[in-house]
């Protein structure tokens, strides 16, 4: 997969390190964004509900699973392995393996989660590829708002969507006919673009190629982590750090 060059890496100068005012970068999360997210996640949740119940889960179990696990890939993997006769240990193991990425994501997010221990503990449930990515591209003072806003939207929409699909049955269109599987990577692409600068371009390219190349060699979930680590380390090693790349950009 080639990500075409974006002018933002060269000509228009993006605020590099100091994204502390609302100028450019990822910008602010609007209610429209949350609405779009809720709509897409609802549809996706409904299809999970249909799939899960058709594979033998009760409607309540599927809904409970969505509320407590909140990870589409892991839930699908668990239900699918179970239905294929893999046994509960293999099923839960497959799901957990897909969620190993929440450890580094949680470490990335931990800087944005302040407050008391129980608040941090609750907020941890919202950690997700999307919520952490949104937080990281948001202006500095609004990261927590972006994280909590998208996180609550996803948990609610995913749970309600699952319930609708699980209880209302199979009257839902195929997510692939709707093209929903293309919508999610496109959403991540939007988040990626403001991150692309000279060094991060190299990291992004290496990470993307490595992750896809390892897709068949490693168990699901791991290619993503290995790719991201390889891209980051290679770019940091290859591109010398300019003096003062810390707080103020240039």
């Amino acid at each position: 997969v080639n990500i075409p060059p974006s002018p933002s890496s060269g000509s228009t100068r993006r605020p590099a390190g100091g994204r502390d005012s609302g100028d450019g970068g990822g910008g602010d999360i609007t209610l429209w964004d949350l609405g779009a997210l809720a709509f897409a996640v609802l549809l996706y949740g409904a299809t999970f509900g249909v799939i899960a119940t058709s594979l033998g889960l009760t409607s309540w179990a599927a809904t409970f699973m969505s509320f407590t696990v909140v990870a589409a890939a892991a839930q699908l993997a668990t239900v699918a392995v179970m239905a294929a006769g893999g046994g509960p240990l293999a099923a839960v193991g497959a799901g957990l393996l897909l969620n190993v990425r929440f450890i580094p994501l949680g470490i990335l997010a931990s800087g944005e989660l302040s407050g008391r221990r129980w608040v941090r503990g609750l907020a941890a449930h919202l950690i997700d590829d999307f919520t952490v990515a949104v937080a990281l591209v948001s202006p500095l003072g609004r990261r927590r708002r972006a994280f909590v806003g998208t996180g609550l939207t996803i948990v609610i929409a995913w749970t309600v969507g699952t319930a609708v699909g699980a209880f209302a049955g199979e009257d839902f269109a195929d997510p692939y006919v709707l093209g929903l599987d293309a919508a999610f990577p496109a959403g991540f692409l939007l988040l990626l673009v403001p991150h692309l600068r000279s060094r991060t371009w190299i990291a992004a390219a290496i990470a993307a190629v490595t992750a896809v190349a390892l897709g068949r060699a490693l168990p699901p979930g791991l290619p993503l982590l290995v790719g991201a680590a390889a891209g980051t380390l290679a770019a940091v090693a290859a591109v010398p750090i300019r003096p003062r790349s810390g707080t103020d950009g240039q």
Partner: protein, 103 residues
């Protein structure tokens, strides 16, 4: 999948989510990690876009999905501030249209 196993999946997932936030608190990472932390989000996002666009499920047409994502990739350099709603819709509509035509 019976209830105890759903609980196991939920608890295991939560523990992995909470490890960072509950152990790191607001401690500053050592300075040497600065470039890594600055670079990692781009790498992680790029790997996410790539693996999701490429896909893992057998039997689902890959080309239409990649073209849907590519449409947004072409759109973003022209209009960097495209709203999320438009990005999701463009990718979905392009992929769905190609599938309807039967590619």
């Amino acid at each position: 999948v019976s209830w105890p196993w759903i609980f196991a999946l939920a608890i295991g997932t939560y523990v992995m989510r909470a490890v960072g936030p509950l152990t790191l608190r607001e401690r500053e990472l050592p300075q040497a990690f600065g470039p890594l932390v600055e670079t990692l989000p781009a790498a992680l996002l790029a790997a996410l876009v790539a693996t999701q666009a490429w896909g893992t499920e057998p039997g689902i047409p890959r080309t239409s999905r990649i073209l849907g994502v590519a449409a947004v990739a072409g759109l973003l350099p022209i209009r960097p501030r495209t709203p999320l709603l438009v990005c999701l819709a463009v990718a979905a509509v392009v992929a769905a249209a190609i599938r309807t035509v039967g590619a």
